[in-house]
Amino acid sequence: MRLKSLVPALYILFLMLPIYWLVAMSFKTTNEILAGFSLFPQTWTFENYTEILTDPTWYWGYINSIIYVTMNTVISVMVALPAAYAFSRYSFVGDKQLFFWLLTNRMAPAAVFALPFFQLYSAVGLFDTHLAVALAHCLFNIPLAVWILEGFMSGVPKELDETAYVDGYSFPRFFVTIFLPAIKSGVGVAAFFCFMFSWVEMLLSKTLTAVEAKPIAAVMTRTASSAGYELGLLAAAGTLTIIPGAIVIYFVRNYIAKGFALGRV
């Protein structure tokens, strides 16, 4: 029993080491970093954080990222809900082919789409807007959301729908007041995954933005390349990108175990 709990403990230790190093680095002064190895920050400094939180280019990077991630999560879940309902309840001409085609878009390498996306969103005048990134991320998030929600919806017995119609509910009212509450953990899980994949993606978000909607990821690469070796600053910026994810995952912690089965166990 002791030995058994050692496995997850060691694994978590392994996961935490690089994160610890990033956080430790972010509290070190540049001098200390360049002077050599030290396990703990010798002189604690908040300079790196102060710089990020007072420089608009830096903190707007975070705000931009949060804006398009939120937009993408809302759009993805909203349009995926009716589609997932259709796939879980009805059979219609081409349903299987459509479902499969949707899933294939998840398999498309983002690198394949980088250049065409740039041209497409420039052509429709959306380049360098939050909406462009939010829409582009729909490519892989909508299929995922449809697929997750379809799994959860198929777990709800059809009798629920039928009972509601017998009781005289209109479809929209049934969907909002009865069906949505029944699959609310599914909606939470789908939203969580959309948030996650939109938040961590960077190739497309970097390609589709220049100044106005520049995500934090792109700001970081600029720092790394132009200002040379500002490791402490880079570490602080990286540390700050972990926080939104940590907050989101803390809120869904009780759904993770079941939710990760995506309604398919």
């Binding site: 997850p8 080491l17 990033l22 498309a108 250049l115 829409l135």
Partner: protein, 288 residues
């Protein structure tokens, strides 16, 4: 039974429009490039299938594809068994469960470029925790910017760090859904630990494991940002995976034709392998 209802198309229309906008138009652009040659100024010439031929016969593509398969193969044979083993040894209930789940899920929520940057800082030979440990405590010579083997080990370990939790969480979700009676029955039937795993736990985890392997295959096959930030494809071309090579050709050299042809071949391979794998995994279910 599902009801026949053609009006269901209205429900899927928004999804269809959004995904089609994002998938079909760029895909057509890619197809367009793949059969033409341009010398700039928006002048294009019909090129037929020459680019495809060129890509398919080029050693550079073969090498990148080979590296890609090696990478995906290695991370799958490490992450899947490791993920299952960790899921099996996790507590089923108690205060430690949410703690384990949250900390394990954390790496997946870190932006991919930060993952690359974090591992870069972590492995710096003289001031990184791992680099310092390898070079100064163990006395090994470890520098992934110089040594291809070290670079490979590092990107593999980074991916294991980044994504094993996905396998753990999916496998764990499968495990907790097994009713206790199954374990009790197996105990009474005198089943060994191995038999419990082979005949109870593994079958019950099959669906979620199929999902896990598919997701890991697709995502690792498309991986770009993390290894790009960490190694930039180097040293030399030793860690230039397919996506990295593709971006180099398309955006670095602006060879749009070959890049587009390569994109389509790349996409087709991903699709084919996913389909093959899915068919094999579900083959057994359709028997009897």
């Amino acid at each position: 039974m599902k009801t026949q209802n053609q009006r269901a198309w209205w429900f899927v229309t928004p999804v269809l429009l959004l995904v089609a906008f994002n998938a079909l138009i760029p895909m057509m652009t890619v197809v367009n490039y793949s059969v033409q040659e341009t010398f700039g100024d928006n002048l294009f010439f019909w090129q037929g299938l020459d680019w495809f031929e060129q890509v398919l016969t080029s050693e550079r593509f073969h090498n990148a594809l080979g590296r890609q398969f090696l990478f995906t193969f290695l991370i799958l044979i490490i992450e899947v068994p490791l993920g299952i083993a960790i899921a099996l040894s996790m507590p089923k209930k108690g205060p430690w469960v949410p703690f384990c789940l949250v900390t394990m899920a954390l790496p997946m929520l870190i932006p991919w470029n930060v993952v690359g940057a974090m591992w870069n800082i972590f492995t710096l030979p003289d001031i990184g925790l791992l680099g310092y440990f390898m070079n100064h405590t163990l006395g090994l010579s470890y520098d992934m910017t110089q040594d291809p083997f070290a670079a490979w080990v590092t990107i593999i370990v980074m991916d294991v760090w980044h994504w094993t939790s996905l396998v753990v969480l999916l496998a764990y979700a499968g495990l907790v859904s097994i009713p206790n009676a199954y374990y009790q029955a197996a105990e009474i039937d005198g089943a060994s630990n191995w038999a419990v795993f082979r005949f109870i736990q593994l079958p019950k985890m099959k669906t979620v494991l199929t999902i896990a392997i598919l997701l890991r295959f697709m995502d690792s096959f498309n991986i770009y940002t993390e290894p790009f930030v960490l190694t930039g494809g180097g040293p030399g071309n030793s860690t230039t995976l397919l996506s990295i090579d593709l971006v180099k050709i398309a955006l670095g050299q602006f060879d749009l034709g070959p890049a587009a042809a390569m994109s389509l071949i790349y996409f087709a391979i991903t699709l084919f392998v996913s389909w093959l794998f899915y068919t094999l995994m579900t083959l057994n279910d359709n028997k009897n």
